[in-house]
Symmetry: C2
Subunit: 306 residues, 2 copies
């Protein structure tokens, strides 16, 4: 059985005569008669009654005709779904976030834009630690990950730099400098404070940037604690264990006992934002997402410069 048989069958059934159906199909009558007969032979069912003035569907033929239309409709559907998938307009995309990434306004903005542009993509979002995200990326459990810092071993991965943001200092609210109602403080003012830093088990994280900024400010910070995630550093600050430098967008996370102050540079330590993907990932959905990300980054910088 081939689709040709069904196509011919439909034409004959609808026209009621083989000759006219052959015209409609752009062919001659005899081969059409043969193909219809071949279909009947394969099904072992008489589909038409041959009448002097044409042919007439049998009950069985009527049954087949109804289903034949449905079959072609389904094939059309399958084809357009396949094409949409190839164009990246349909399918699935899994994205990961490190805990602080969603605070950066760029991230929710690009997700929103992408969802609006490609509503047929089923988007899966997952939060996780940077190391875990990179593993998931390599294992193809996710297709992209918003992370802060560059990664130690970029082998096979590709990193897209996104707009970075300033860091601010998070102080316990009973800190001497927290009482003063100033908008910004120089980094050097915290030379004596214990620092709580975010450093993941392997790799640099934001750690190096902070140390470097302190050095540039003329002191070596005293590291009191290390926390595995940026968000958890705030808990330690709140407990009064020290101060911390966190991305400015974290200020949206209001927390009892924590006060934020901008840093009056230079040096102005910055928190990067990156999108990690697999190098050589051919997924069209991802390709579209990267387009959206690049566009959003351009728009974002434009907004910021205004």
């Amino acid at each position: 059985m081939e689709l040709r048989h069904l196509r011919y069958f439909i034409a004959v059934a609808e026209e009621g005569r083989v000759t006219r159906a052959a015209e409609r199909l752009g062919m001659q009558q005899p081969p059409l008669s043969q193909q219809i007969k071949a279909l009947e032979r394969e099904l072992d069912v008489q589909l038409f009654r041959r009448r002097p003035r044409g042919v007439e569907l049998t009950d069985a033929g009527r049954t087949l005709l109804a289903d034949a239309h449905a079959i072609f409709a389904q094939i059309d559907h399958a084809f357009s779904a396949t094409r949409r998938t190839a164009r990246g307009e349909q399918g699935e995309l899994s994205l990961g976030f490190t805990s602080s990434a969603p605070f950066h306004p760029f991230v929710p903005r690009v997700i929103r834009a992408y969802r609006d542009a490609y509503p047929l993509i089923a988007l899966t979002l997952a939060e996780g630690g940077t190391t875990e995200l990179i593993d998931s990326l390599r294992a193809e459990r996710i297709d992209g990950a918003f992370i802060r810092s560059p990664i130690a071993d970029p082998e096979g991965l590709s990193l897209l730099r996104l707009p970075e943001e300033a860091m601010v200092v998070a102080l316990p609210s009973n800190h001497a400098l927290a009482r003063r109602r100033v908008a910004a403080l120089p980094l050097k003012a915290f030379a004596a404070d214990p620092f709580i830093v975010y450093r993941r088990p392997s790799g640099p994280g934001l750690y190096d940037g902070i140390i470097a900024a302190c050095h540039a400010a003329g002191f070596t910070p005293r590291i009191a604690q290390e926390a595995p995630r940026i968000v958890s550093t705030l808990n330690l600050v709140s407990a009064g264990l020290g101060i911390s430098l966190v991305p400015a967008s974290l200020q949206r996370m209001r927390m009892d006992g924590v006060v934020y102050r901008r840093l009056k540079g230079p040096p102005q330590p910055m928190a990067p934002l990156n999108l990690a993907t697999r190098r050589g990932d051919t997924s069209a959905a991802l390709r579209r997402f990267l387009q959206s990300v690049r566009q959003a980054a351009k728009d974002f910088r434009l907004d910021a410069s205004v």
Copy 2:
């Protein structure tokens, strides 16, 4: 596009290598590669990524694979539905009844047997006057009709005689003979009574049989009323307008003011039962139904003789 392309595509997708898929399909590798490429060209979509160790589905290919299975499932379904229809195991059948027919135990029995044997046939049942039923039959609104009497113009129709039943007399309950608690009475006892007979606008109906029986009993009945349906004669009997002869099965219709008495023949007037169908109706569903009817008639006569 032909189904061949989809068949080949499924084989390659499932095997993961063209060579092995070709073996499974009983063909060589090069033509298979070509057909896959032809499918990709028609869709204008890359379905596989060629790898050194085989081929790998793209996202678009995965989409198509899922749908391809569904397409073949639907085709299988269409084919078996067509075959079932051809065998008369699936489809539709419309039957008509004259009002008194369903009282004859044969009729519900054969309907039940047929429904049990062919549950996939959607059965439509309709009641109507004999003339109306015959018209419906000719117009192909129904496929068969259970009627009592032979029909005037059997042109193009076929009549199957079914087990006939005795007629009984229906008396008003205040009739002199109704008071006497006898099981059966001779027809001659009603020589003086006004008769209510069933006669349809055209054609003989049961009328002729009744008249003939009376003549055989030695009198000419006095016709007081004619009623268009057998059942409505009972209303007239109940009203005391006369007596009527009705099929014995009508006794199941208990009616205030009506008493039934068997007739002590000879002569014993009989009520026939017939199944009318279109001559040359090729419907397999009808063919099966006629089989069931013939079988049921055989069983019925066997039961009666026991």
